[in-house]
Structure formats: C-alpha cells, structure tokens
C-alpha cells in the first residue's frame, strides 16, 4: 500500500511550498479609517453629512445666527413678506420665521438625539441579554417586544404622549418607549449570529469572563450595523417628533419647533404658504440628509453588500 510510504516520508503528500506572506485576499473588514475613506468618496453621503453638520452648527450657534428673538411678537408686521428686518417674513403673530426655523433646529435635533440615546440605552442591553442568555430570559424579553410590535408604533406613542401630557420631553419618552423594540430585535439577531463564532468559544477557553466576552467580542461586532440603523432612525425620529408636535403633543407655544410651526401656519396656507413651506422644507432636508448619510454608512461599513444604485 502506498499509504505506508506516504507516512514513512513524513508528510510527503504535502508539498512544502513557502507560504506567501500576504496572500491576495479580498479585505472583508477594513479599519475605521478605510470606512471613513469610502464614506467620503460617496457623494450623496457626503452631501448628507455636510447638511447635518451645517444644521447642527446652526442649532448650536442659534443665538448668534438668528436675526430676531424667535418668540418676540410683532403684531404690526403679521404675515409680513420677506424683507430686511425679517428675511423670510413673519408668522401670524409677527414672529420672525427665519429665527423660529433656526431655533427649531435646536428643538428637533436635540429631542431626536436624546430620544435615540434613550432608545439605544434600552434596546441594546435588552437585545444583547436576550440574544446572549437565550432560554427564558430571551423568551421573556422577546415576547414583550412582540406585544409592543403588535401595535402600530406611532399610534402607541401618540397614546403615551397623550397620557403623559403635551411637551417635548414627554414626546421623547413616548417615542423611546415604543421605538427600542426594533433595536432589541436587531441586536438580538446579531448577537445570536456572533455568539456562534468560534472566537467566542476561544475567548471562553482562555478564561475571559462572560461580561468580558460581551464587551470585547460581541458588542464591537454588533456596533457598525447599529451606527447605520441609528443614523437612519435620526431622520425618522425627527419626522415623528415633528408629526407629534404638529398634532399639538410636542413643543408648546410659543417655543419654536418645526412641526408646531407647520401646525401654526396651516390656517394661513392660502394667504401665506411660506409659513408651511419653510418648516416643511427644513424637516424634509434634515430627514433626507440623515437617510443619505445612513445609506452611505451602510455601504462604507459593509463593503460586501453593494446595494446602492
């Protein structure tokens, strides 16, 4: 039998070629620097990023940029057309439209960002717990998630916000209370797939504690899809907050907020359409910018799935 010879000559069956140092291999995961580079090459994502940064700058420096006090009522110049004193004109109470838009960016962005933090703070730990522990913990958490998912989210948020009473903070609480379930589900799914990887077993075999495994091995591998989801959701949250404010549950007069401005301008739609056009444009632009950035991030962080057209 040839086998014995084969054994006798050591591993003669295996030619001893020198292992090429850097075998050409498609890089599946680059560092964050490579991801950033890919993002900056994506023009639409870059446009989204620039718009977001600009709106954030406007929100931060609102007191220095705004030409007038956003809440100052000037009844002599009600529904004024654009002019030198009021660059975009005034609303039905003679308040400066541009200043209200600028301060409105503050309200929209900060509320959406806070809500997003709250959502992630609830959703990610619960999703991780469900996915990692499995068993009854998983069942308990996911059945609760299922219950929440069985209701239309925005309607439920409407009910909660209505119960808590109007106000931006309550809108934020209401949105967080229903929105986290999506995160919990996505995180759970990803944790389940990462958990099966052999590097988790290897970490356990070399003495890493369960918390260490979650912190060092599971969460970092779940992070990049989370960033994408969060960016896309910023747009949706801004829309939802504006929507609830439009219905009168969010920002209360005289506080400037885009959704509330739309609502205020509705009776004058025929006479002064700019009252609705400008806040509407602002909401659309920011939501679109977050969507563009989110799409770009998805492509940049995962070079394998080129779904972009």
């Amino acid at each position: 039998m040839g086998l014995s010879r084969n054994f006798g000559a050591g591993v003669a069956g295996y030619p001893a070629t020198v292992e090429s140092a850097g075998q050409a291999e498609t890089v599946s995961r680059g560092g964050s620097a490579a991801a950033l580079e890919r993002l900056l090459q994506d023009r639409l994502a870059l446009l989204g990023l620039i718009i977001i940064l600009a709106v954030m700058a406007v929100a931060v420096f609102a007191p220095y940029i705004a030409p007038n006090d956003p809440t100052k009522v000037d009844l002599q110049h009600r529904l004024a057309p654009p002019g030198t004193q009021y660059p975009l004109g005034t609303d039905h109470l003679g308040r400066c439209l541009l200043s209200r838009l600028i301060y409105g960016a503050r309200a929209s962005l900060s509320t959406a960002a806070l809500a997003l933090w709250a959502i992630m703070l609830i959703g990610i730990p619960l999703g991780t717990l469900a996915g990692y522990c499995g068993g009854w913990v998983d069942n308990l958490i996911m059945r609760f998630v299922d219950i929440l998912l069985a209701f239309p989210g925005l309607i439920l948020a409407l009910v909660i916000a209505g119960t808590l009473g109007p106000g931006l903070l309550n809108v934020m609480l209401a949105l967080s209370a229903v929105w986290w379930v999506g995160y919990a589900r996505v995180v759970r799914g990803m944790v389940l797939s990462v958990k099966e990887k052999e590097f988790i077993l290897a970490a356990r075999a070399c003495g890493t504690s369960e918390l260490g495994i979650i912190a060092r091995h599971i969460l970092p591998n779940v992070l990049s899809p989370m960033i994408v989801l969060a960016t896309l959701d910023m747009g949706k949250l801004i829309l939802a907050i504006s929507g609830l404010s439009f219905l009168g549950l969010g920002a209360q007069p005289p506080a400037p907020e885009w959704g509330a401005m739309l609502s205020d301008g509705r009776p004058y739609m025929q006479a002064a359409p700019q009252l609705m056009i400008y806040p509407g444009l602002a909401i659309m632009t920011v939501a679109l910018a977050f969507n563009l950035l989110g799409d770009g991030l998805r492509d940049a962080l995962d070079p394998r799935g080129n779904t972009r057209i």
Partner: protein, 319 residues
C-alpha cells in the same frame, strides 16, 4: 504518567422537539468514551464528520458540560469544577479550532487577541507585550504583526495566530480540533510541522482531532478511531496501517487516496451508505448496518472495547 483521563464520558443533546413536551429525541454525540493520554503524548482522534470527535474535544476543555462520565486531569477529577476553579483550570488546557478565520475576532488586532489570555490572568501590560512578541516569533510570525488585523493574514498564518493564543498561558494539554482541515494542502504540512516542533520544545500533550488519517499518523503516537459517539479501536500509530483490525478503521485506511497511480488497484470503498442518525443508533454493534463482515451476533450484542494486543484496544466481535 497520565495527564488526561476520560472515563465513560457521555454527552447527549436535546434534539428535535416533538409536538408534545417530553418527546424529545436525544442526540448521543458522545456515548461512553474512555481513554487516557500520557504527558508528552499525542493521541490522534479520527472519525468521519458527525461522529462526535469535536464534541469530545470541547468536553475535555470544559467548553461543554458532559451529561455523564468523568474527566481527570493529572489524576484530579475536574468534571464538576465551576467558577474560579474552572477559570484557573483554563491555564492548563487550550484548544485550537478548525476554522482559522472564525476563531479570530475580526475587530481586534493580533496583539490584542494573543494578549487576551494573559490579561485574563493578570499579567502586567509590559510583560504581555513582550510575551506577544515572543509567541509570534515562536509560531513563525513577525513581532510587528501584532498591530495587524486578522484579515491581513492568509489562512495558514491565521492558524499560527490561533496557535500563539493557545500557547500564551503555557498549557500542558492542547486540544487540536481539526487544525489543518480548513487549510490549503500546501500549507497543512507547515502547520503540522510547527505543531510537532512546538510539542517537542514546550513538552506539550496533544489531543489531535482530525478526519485526515495522513495528518493524524504524522503527528500522533496513538490513534483512536471513533464511530457514532464511541471509540471502536485504539492502537499505536506505527501499527495503524498494518495492524488496524476494526472493519471501520480498515475502511478509513482504504479511503486514503493513493498518490502513486501505478499502485492504484481500483478497489472500491467498503463502507456503504450513510452514517446512521446519532439520535437513533442501531442496536448491537453500531457499525453493523455498514459493515461488510456483519453477522447475526453483531445485530444483537454490542461488542465491548477489549485488549487484543499491546496498547491495542478493539470493539468488535470478530477480526
């Protein structure tokens, strides 16, 4: 001196659940395995996929809890150990996995990966870095590779990283779970040679799991053949080709491809059919439905593992 001893080890998994609770089928992945491994020895464990050899490897390094049976390390029973005691135990045995890429976290640098076991056992940062450089050199990589990410390496190099991590804590026993199966044939020899060299230098003991008889024979001192959760034959590696007596072992040997075309005889493999469902193992000898020499007694009585020569155990009514 015996380093590792496994007695009647059993691992059952809950299989498909019936519609009504209580009707769960048990998959008998490991079903009463007994063997011993001496210090400095390499025991090769062969068998086709699904025979339970990987489960056995994971049981030994306590990544899975056995359903029954005992594991003894240097004469001390470690089966029930948990918590801090189990963690301390992790220094003494390590495991190298088959899939060299899935066993490395893609988001951590090679340095961080190799450092992890050291950090877990409180080695100071500076010393850790020195050890990482040492380990990288030991497995044939550059100390500067510590800053790279796993995807920057080839499959063979990644397996070297896995080996470095496994050796970081200076274990006594290393379970190699198909360490070369996912590698290119041209790279297997290098990794096998590396493992052999390391064993000599560091006085390691290996439980070497593989379905590749050539690899097992190259590295092992003794070979255990596993079929459907049970060991059917254990014999010294040098006698594998000439003395293997179990029909299954012989079939495995015959399935090894013949490199010299003039020596090829056109013999067909003797094992027919598929591996039976481990949830429903056949009565009598587990191999009888596929055995060319099966007789009535094989269908009724399960043979026991008995000594048939020096260091040669066999589970068969005949041969």
């Amino acid at each position: 001196m015996t380093l590792l001893e496994v007695r009647e080890l059993v691992k059952h998994y809950a299989g498909k659940r019936g519609i009504f609770a209580g009707h769960r089928e048990k998959v008998r992945a490991v079903d009463g395995v007994t063997f011993a491994l001496a210090r400095g020895e390499t025991l090769g464990l062969v068998g086709e996929s699904g025979c339970g050899k990987s489960t056995l490897g994971r049981l030994v390094v306590r990544l899975e809890e056995p359903t029954a049976g005992k594991i003894l390390l240097a004469g001390e029973e470690i089966t029930g150990w948990t918590g801090r005691k189990l963690r301390e135990l992790r220094r003494r045995f390590q495991i190298i996995f088959q899939d060299s890429s899935s066993s490395l976290n893609p988001r951590r640098t090679v340095g961080a990966i190799i450092e992890e076991p050291l950090a877990n056992f409180g080695v100071a940062k500076r010393e850790r870095q020195e050890r990482v450089a040492e380990l990288l050199t030991l497995v044939g990589l550059e100390p500067g590779d510590a800053w790279k990410y796993p995807h920057e390496f080839s499959g063979g190099q990644r397996q070297r990283i896995n080996i470095a991590r496994a050796l970081a804590l200076q274990p006594e026993l290393v379970v190699c779970d198909e360490p070369v199966s996912s590698l290119d044939v041209s790279i297997r020899a290098q990794i096998l040679n590396l493992l052999r060299g390391l064993k000599r230098r560091l006085n390691l003991s290996y439980l070497f799991i593989s379905h590749d008889l050539a690899a097992v024979n190259y590295l092992a001192d003794r070979v255990a053949v596993m079929y459907l959760g049970k060991i059917v034959e254990i014999l010294p590696a040098e006698g594998l080709v000439s003395q293997a007596r179990h029909p299954y072992s012989r079939a495995l040997l015959r399935a090894v491809p013949e490199p010299d075309p003039r020596q090829r005889t056109g013999r067909k493999p003797v094992v027919r059919g598929e591996t039976p469902d481990p949830a429903r193992p056949p009565a009598g000898c587990r191999f009888h439905p596929r055995c060319p020499e099966a007789r009535d007694v094989c269908r009724q009585d399960e043979p026991v593992l008995k000594e048939v020569g020096e260091g040669h155990l066999l589970r068969c009514h005949f041969s």
